[in-house]
Symmetry: C2
């Protein structure tokens, strides 16, 4: 009896997880975390109206969700002043990135991103055999000019840019991105990941023409809307590209109560304003904690703060390990030189107090371990 | 400004939906259905404990779900007396079928199924460029012998068999499937879709060795467990094949409250027994309604009944259209000769009473329209 005959590509891929989940770490350490500040989840939570809508919808879960996501797309169209034909809803941005890469990338096709940007995008590119080219961050910012120049150089079909950025929390004004797009090579699609844009200053969302075929924008209910576990993302783009998702997507992939929750969350702009205010306060507090420990917080347009630990990646990793040991779930950038930082999500005072208490000891442990 | 450079395969695919959802039909007709009997959903609903677990989990939806689905896989391993390494959880069987086809099928690779079997499987095969070969049903049953013979003939990498079958509700004893597998050609994986197996007589589940690399079985919480809208399916197979899903799946694709709901549903065996009893009663009632109208109900091991309308596909279609016109959501098989039937899901007496009231008029309308 032989094994299944995998495709050569599938045979070549590693079985992996782009991010190890905090639950896995909790099982490994044999204890739950005291504070969950590592996945840029929104600890302030979703709108109470979204919670109520999802609870109400629970009894209806014997029914499949609407495969057209009609109500949600109608509401999003009104919200963004575009047409439903400009919107595809999917199982988080992760799911939509997978579909997008599948539509464009055959083995050997080139894709460009920044070194140390979103690993799950890279996972999908590798998963369809794409060849990933990277450019460095510039002063902890992703750099549209070098991204688009590299895309021209390697004849990329797809270039990824997150604005605001994860993991560095840096950002560009949306108008600058649109201007930079003049250098986007013909036949290269820009995937502009705006997952954190609701946490950013006004003017960060790129004011692109919704029917511009050169760009697709990714949005999510996982961050400012507080529904990471519901799995609702959406993409905004020209109707032809949006329609192409219907060639490959899992039409019945959406959880029915999540559809209801996203609809209610979108309608509750007061709660979004409240969360934005909480995020601003928490960023200030995280920055103060960093300063109190002689560290440098990076400016943030997201719901997390990257904190420069002042030395190399090994020192930041030692600090991170000590924080995890102390019961705080946090993460750090993967690539140099960004990996001199740790990345801490915004949260309520109780969580940040625990971080404030643990950080001095973690830094002391890191100094002892590294001789810094 | 040019369009994105899609892969040749993506360019060749139609933008489609394998099943038009009832919500779409409701929007088209401008009124909701009075009874929803077309998607083989479980109108008796999920366990009240599952509903409670999902409602409790709603406030936790700011957190991503565990990408390992650890707790659910542990519980499923105990339930099936296998190891967690034999189980992968995904976004419904639809999602898992997509991943499976992706792992095995390159453009031009051959796949075998029955003519008129599950369209979403065919959608995924086409979506990865596979070449689909079909064999006919035999007396309204999928036929393992001819499926496996065709697989040998065309050197198929994958062969699909649903047991019990959708849309005909027919079934084979599991032991017969295992015996028939002696004829499964080397290097061909059997995907055995057991979505409805909890509705079937004891002995229907195929007693395959869980580590047999020739077969992968698909299971779901969408049918007997009543959680179609939650999107929780799983596959059972040899560890090597199960592990391969980690190369391509959307690791964070599962809704967190759905994970909790499936766990609670699995634990409530009393509710499953209750639903099984309700399904048996509803099948009997649907059969009686068919007989009362001079029609032939087919034996069913599922939560629906295929009713032979006694003439050709055009007559069944006219009957179906009249039922939909009357406010009943029902469906019918796509392919001849199975399309002489309509397919009606089990449901409570109130829903079936509406079907009983509407069917004579629908048949009269079909007779008038077709001259039968």
């Amino acid at each position: 009896m032989s094994d299944p005959r995998y495709t050569p590509l599938a045979q070549s891929l590693p079985a992996t997880v782009p991010f190890v989940g905090p639950e896995t770490q909790e099982r490994q350490r044999g204890a739950p975390f005291d504070a969950r500040l590592g996945a840029n989840e929104n600890i302030f939570g979703p709108s109470p109206r979204a919670i109520a809508a999802m609870q109400d919808a629970t009894a209806d879960l014997w029914m499949y969700g609407d495969p057209e996501n009609y109500d949600l797309r109608q509401a999003l169209a009104l919200h963004h002043r575009i047409q439903p034909e400009n919107i595809v809803v999917g199982e988080g941005i992760d799911g939509l990135l997978g579909y997008l890469v599948r539509l464009l990338i055959n083995p050997g096709d080139c894709v460009v991103t920044s070194l140390g940007a979103y690993p799950t995008f890279n996972y999908h590119v590798a998963g369809f055999g794409g060849v990933l080219h990277t450019v460095p961050y510039v002063d902890d910012h992703e750099d549209p000019a070098s991204l688009f120049a590299k895309a021209a150089e390697v004849d990329a079909k797809l270039v990824y840019l997150a604005n605001p950025d994860n993991p560095m929390a840096s950002w560009h004004r949306g108008a600058e991105i649109v201007t930079a797009m003049d250098a986007l090579p013909e036949g290269c699609l820009l995937v502009l990941d705006e997952a954190y844009v609701e946490c950013a200053p006004n003017g960060t969302a790129a004011p692109v023409d919704i029917n511009d075929p050169r760009v697709i924008r990714m949005r999510t209910f996982s961050k400012a809307y507080g529904l990471a576990g519901a799995r609702v993302g959406y993409a905004l783009g020209a109707p032809g590209l949006i329609s192409a998702f219907n060639k490959v997507r899992n039409h019945f992939g959406m959880n029915r109560s999540a559809q209801a929750g996203a609809l209610a969350a979108l309608a509750d702009s007061d709660w979004l304003t409240h969360v934005q205010s909480e995020i601003t306060n928490a960023r200030d507090r995280l920055s103060q904690i960093a300063h109190d420990n002689g560290l440098t917080p990076l400016p943030s347009a997201t719901n997390f703060v990257a904190i420069d630990c002042g030395h190399d990646g090994a020192f930041a990793k030692a600090t991170l390990d000590a924080l995890i040991e102390a019961g705080l779930f946090v993460r750090m950038p993967f690539a140099e030189p960004q990996n001199r930082c740790i990345r801490v999500s915004c949260g309520p005072a109780s969580d940040l107090n625990q971080f404030a208490a643990a950080l001095p000891k973690a830094l002391a442990a890191a100094r002892a371990a590294t001789g810094r």
